[in-house]
Amino acid sequence: MTAFDRKLPSPDRPLFQVQGLSKYYGSRIGCADVSFDLYPGEVLGIVGESGSGKSTLLSCLAGHMAPDTGRVIFDTAEGPRDTVTMGEAERRRLARTDWAYVHQNPRDGLRMGVSAGGNVGERLMAVGARHYGNIRDKANDWLGRVEIAADRIDDRPRAFSGGMQQRLQIARNLVTGPRLVFMDEPTGGLDVSVQARLLDLLRGLVREMGLSAIIVTHDLAVVRLLADRLMVMKGGHVVEQGLTDQVLDDPQHAYTQLLVSSVLQV
């Protein structure tokens, strides 16, 4: 596990620590005994087949679901705190300031009846912005950064293409300058050329803002491009983890070998 000892240029304290996290659905395993540390500026990819517990894990990490055991410690402004035991009000405040969550389906993450500008502005207003001009300027700025034309600011998301909706969702999430972004299959359901542009954009934003991110996907190309480290899950357990290139180029676990060899080469 040399990957975990990698020294990063940023502060030496982990931003996000997960210790012994388990979630059971009755007698079935959702995910079991997951532990990892995430340092500031680091991107962690979680891959695995359908039903391997990726989404369960992400929901537990983001506080959408309560894990049965384990600790999820986030380095808040007041020092490291266990987000599982903190009050709901505090956890939700965290979720709209320091955290962001990008859903696979933009319809889940956007308000479809509200204009693009309103969607981007919602998080700003949720943390107390009360100046219309400033909110609008910031929305305009962010739409530009995710390559949505300025004249679309008053259009509703349902008038947008799938790729634009996904970019809008990303803008809406990053506008308050979060430190940790959870992404659930951010490129799922998009065609390959749109995927490539979205990945390019995401990579730029992550580097530029120094974001930490946890990306759940079944697309190995996505993690190859974005992730520093990789965790491979199967049946609710983490079967292999390490540096992305190391895991993908020299897979040790039988399942990882199968996964890597299943990718179609064009």
Binding site: S115, M125, Y132, R136, D154
Partner: protein, 294 residues
Amino acid sequence: MTAQDYNFAYLDEQTKRMIRRAILKGVAVPGYQVPFASREMPMPYGWGTGGVQVTAACLTPDDTLKVIDQGADDTTNAVSIRKFFQRTAAVAVTEATAEATIIQTRHRIPEAALTEGQILVYQVPIPEPLRFLEPRETETRKMHELEEYGLMHVKLYEDIARHGHIATAYAYPVKVEGRYVMDPSPIPRFDNPKLSDCPAIQLFGAGREQRIYALPPYTRVVSLDFEDHPFEASKAPHDCDLCGASDSYLDEVITDDEGGRMFVCSDTDFCRGRVAAGHIGRLGAPDLAQEAAE
């Protein structure tokens, strides 16, 4: 069955007791929507079943009741509710705002200043201000609990983005004592400033939605807005054509099919009072005595 067979004010005592408990809780937590076991009333939902239940729970035999609908004492809704309580409670009724101890209202606050000791009962169709913004009721309750009201401003943002100004003209959201965001029922935003620091008790009843909420006397109520788009109480830029009042909320009345129109006070009692005091508007006051003589 005669009217005497009904209990005082139609509802049985246990029901009134239950409603009074909800009202007391509402008064104790201003702006908080208190659930209550709303009863079937002998009128359709949307006609003021919530307001009628609150009024019934507050009425005593000594009360004087006034009922208004959009400011008017003589529209169907007002007349039928007034008759309902005359029959079932035999209370005194009035059209004069100052003489009433309980005023049940739909969509207006009377122009005349209310006083201590008066109760203003609103009929509320939709008590949840976040209703059309967040579809899940479990979530809106959570948002009230945690004071997450950013979404309310998204609505106002959308107004400005689309119309250039805050176009919400009625049911304009307010914040009560810096805590709960409340739907003031569909009163015009012209009336919003009257909600704040009012000497009378204001009670809100939503029958279909089974919610009661309240503003105790002298509660601070602030209309939500943006720093660069402040709240503005608005009305038609005219004077009343009957009484000449420039500071009252006006109804527009179409008088013919050639574009003819007149603006009159929506508060009929206020308008009548001004006419009786000798104020005359653009179209003059109809002289009732002379009309009767002709």
